[in-house]
């Protein structure tokens, strides 16, 4: 059976959609067959981030209302062979899909996909319930801010209440220099509060903004730190044991840069 993973956060703006696009792309790059589902009906974004907006003909509501078959609504990514998108509807509202619809939809996708990633809307209402209904694993995204961590904590509680026990944490948008100055929550602070296992830490990176605005995932180009972080998350999802090296590397780089500056002064 395919791995159905919901990507959620509670709070908005922490990078759920960007993470879904990048983790999905990274998994596809690793040779896995992946579907990313946008469940944010009425405020869809995943299509824009993946640069597939102009290919949408059918959407998730067309599928759940029986307008078309799920395979027909899937949009093939224009760069990666193994990546497919099921877009959300823009002109409908969240009530047009029910949690049962989501379960049926994932069933209809069948076994030919290795991973099904569901991009969850912000909040804990109807859209959230839809998104988690069919999932058997969850990735919770948070940022090193007290408010985001608080929401993540609530989300983890709700996921556990819905019997999703495989919950992994991604800390996104870490500003290493601020953490080192002690001005930002560190990863240890966050995992200490949330008590779920960390699957990745992604630095705050201009490359993400640039590539997202271009409609291509940052992992397309493996040079940036954030791309490496997303690829590591994908590898860990496939069961590979990748040490959380990226963080210490990032620290080293920052330290090195700081040292150079200190020396040059």
């Amino acid at each position: 059976m395919s791995d159905v993973i919901v990507i959620t956060s509670g709070k908005g703006g922490v990078g759920k959609t960007t993470s879904t696009a990048n983790i999905g792309s990274a998994l596809a790059k690793l040779g896995k067959k992946v579907v990313v589902i946008d469940s944010d009906i009425g405020l869809r974004n995943l299509d824009v981030v993946l640069g597939l907006e102009n290919r949408i003909v059918f959407d998730i509501v067309d599928v759940t209302t029986g307008n078309c078959e799920v395979k027909k609504a899937l949009i093939k990514d224009r760069r990666l062979e193994n990546l497919y998108l099921l877009p959300a509807a823009q002109t409908k509202d969240k009530e047009s899909v029910s949690p049962d619809d989501m379960i049926q939809l994932v069933k209809d996708l069948g076994n030919e996909f290795d991973f099904i990633l569901i991009d969850c809307p912000a909040g804990i209402e109807h859209g959230f319930k839809n998104a988690i209904a069919a999932a058997n694993r969850a990735i919770v995204i948070t940022t090193p801010e007290v408010s985001a961590v608080r929401d993540a904590d609530r989300i983890i509680g709700l996921l556990e209440a819905n019997e999703i026990d495989d919950i992994k944490l991604v800390v996104n948008m870490i500003k290493m220099n601020m953490v080192q100055r002690g001005d930002m929550l560190s990863i240890d602070d966050i995992t200490d509060i949330l008590a779920v296992s960390l699957i990745g830490a992604v630095p705050d990176d201009e490359a993400v903004v640039i590539s997202t605005n271009r409609g291509e995932p940052v992992v397309k180009n493996e040079d940036s730190l954030s791309a490496k972080a997303f690829i590591n998350i994908a590898r860990r999802l496939t069961g590979e044991d990748v040490p959380l090296l990226d963080i210490s590397i990032k620290e080293n780089i920052v330290e090195r840069v700081l040292k150079i500056f200190k020396l040059s002064k």
Binding site: N54, R55, I56, V57, R78, Q90, T91
Partner: protein, 216 residues
Amino acid sequence: MNNLLNFKGVKNGLILQINEKASFEDIKLAIKVKAEKGSGLIKNSDLIGVLGTKLSYKEKAILEELLSKLLKINVLSLEIFSYNDNKNNIETETEKTVKDNNNDKCKPNGIKFIETTLRSGNEIISDGHIVVLGDVNPGAILKAKGNILVMGKLRGIAHAGIDGNDEAFIAANSLMPNQIRISDIISRAPDNADTVDRITPEKALISDGRIIIERL
């Protein structure tokens, strides 16, 4: 007496235009006069609203009785009639007319004017032509049985000739849509389209089974 009351025919029925200065007694009298002359054309029509003066509940009750008894008019509403000045009305009215006209499918029926910017999530459906005096942003959808004309930038999705009318066209002052659909043919923007605004008026139509773009 004649200009105290006036019945106006619109798409879905009749509107009763009442002179603002008329007293309620005058109105009652005018109806009676009209009834003596014979209700003729307006007999059995649906009255869907009132223009010119606002009526109290008591007046509405009296008027409804007079209109239905003397003039044999089907009174559906005596509320102030509004000409679809907000978007919700546009949409609900469209749904209604689409239902009504299911029988004569391919024939475009009337023109819908939209005087606002259409934003992501807006959907305009018309069984006639659509004219937008404003921009159509990405994520907005226009669907028309007939043609679509956008006096602004078309960046969203436009679908002309939804019932299989291959003659339909889509024209805009600046034609940069996500997707264009005419009849059952779909065409999308190239992936590496320049983001610079094109401000040449252009027209999209079907030629030899494909959608082509022509300069206007």
